[in-house]
Symmetry: C2
Subunit: 154 residues, 2 copies
DNA sequence: CTGTAAAGTTAAGCATGCTTAACTAAAAGG
DNA sequence: CCTTTTAGTTAAGCATGCTTAACTTTACAG
């Protein structure tokens, strides 16, 4: 009971602190690449979840098909994304990162990860070990949760 | 050495998973309140760091004074923020959340925190305890880091 | 007291993201 | 086949966020 409360408070505190820091970092990096946040988010999704269709862009970002089409257009024009016909359904398109796109996402990640080094520097080895274990637990739980949700959808 | 590597990997994995989930949640909530992301971010900052001036908006969001003025305008017009003269410097303005603004931020937090409950439900008490401790460590480290950075700036 | 710097505001103009509406082309169902 | 759905695009129009430039008011330094 009290453990759950403590758990919730810890996670919330961390979320608050983390979001502040991370969001602005994201945005600055995207801007420095000449990309808007929505555009960059699509690249991120492609990197994490692999190729997908326009329809999925529409669903994941909760925008109209028209908006999705226009967003992706810019990414294609700038050479970050490939838009190819789906061999199984000639109406559909499959989106994929180009090498240029993949490289950009990875550089973005690198930069954002920088501040981790700052944190790392001020923790003892013992603390780092504890944090590693804990975040592993959390990450697994979230992924399990997401899978479950995806299954429910289908 | 190997501990540090493990630490970095854990944090990165968690960041990736967490960001995906959290960002879109944010945006949807803001939209449901009729607020844009930049507008909502200002409310968040006011909630977390207390009252501040237009200049600080400019600095924190890296936008021009003009843009800051216009953004805050809308928040004031919608009754989320108070813009009062700074008693110590009649040129400056002090921004503050109204009750309505404070309420909105808190409701937003509540909603976003919901998915924590989902995670909580699938962890053992022992795991929750570990996570609590670890996130406490992390949060402290980040806050210390930010304070240091603020001091360097000044 | 006077000139300069600092804090904010306002207006004009541009880029972006988004929407609706009208369209093309391919799939699916009868 | 022929109709209806589904996937996607294009165009017109609106809201937003942002910038630069011109301005007001207050603080501060000589």
């Amino acid at each position: 009971m009290t453990k759950s409360l403590q758990f919730n408070q810890s996670v919330r505190a961390w979320m608050d602190v983390f979001m502040q820091r991370s969001m602005s970092g994201w945005k600055l990096f995207a801007k420095s690449c000449g990309l808007s946040m929505p555009q960059f988010s699509i690249l991120m999704q492609l990197h994490h979840k692999g190729a997908f269709s326009m329809s999925e862009v529409r669903e994941r970002f909760e925008i109209t098909a028209a908006a999705a089409s226009q967003l992706v257009d810019k990414l294609v024009q700038n050479g970050f994304v490939l838009r190819e016909e789906d061999p199984n359904d000639r109406r559909a398109k499959l989106l994929n990162l180009t090498d240029k796109g993949r490289d950009l996402v990875q550089r973005g990640a690198q930069e954002r990860y920088h501040w981790i080094d700052g944190i790392s520097a001020r923790l003892s080895e013992a603390d780092k070990a504890k944090v590693s274990v804990a975040l592993g637990i959390l990450t697994e739980a979230v992924q399990a949760l997401e899978q479950e949700r995806d299954v429910q959808k289908a």
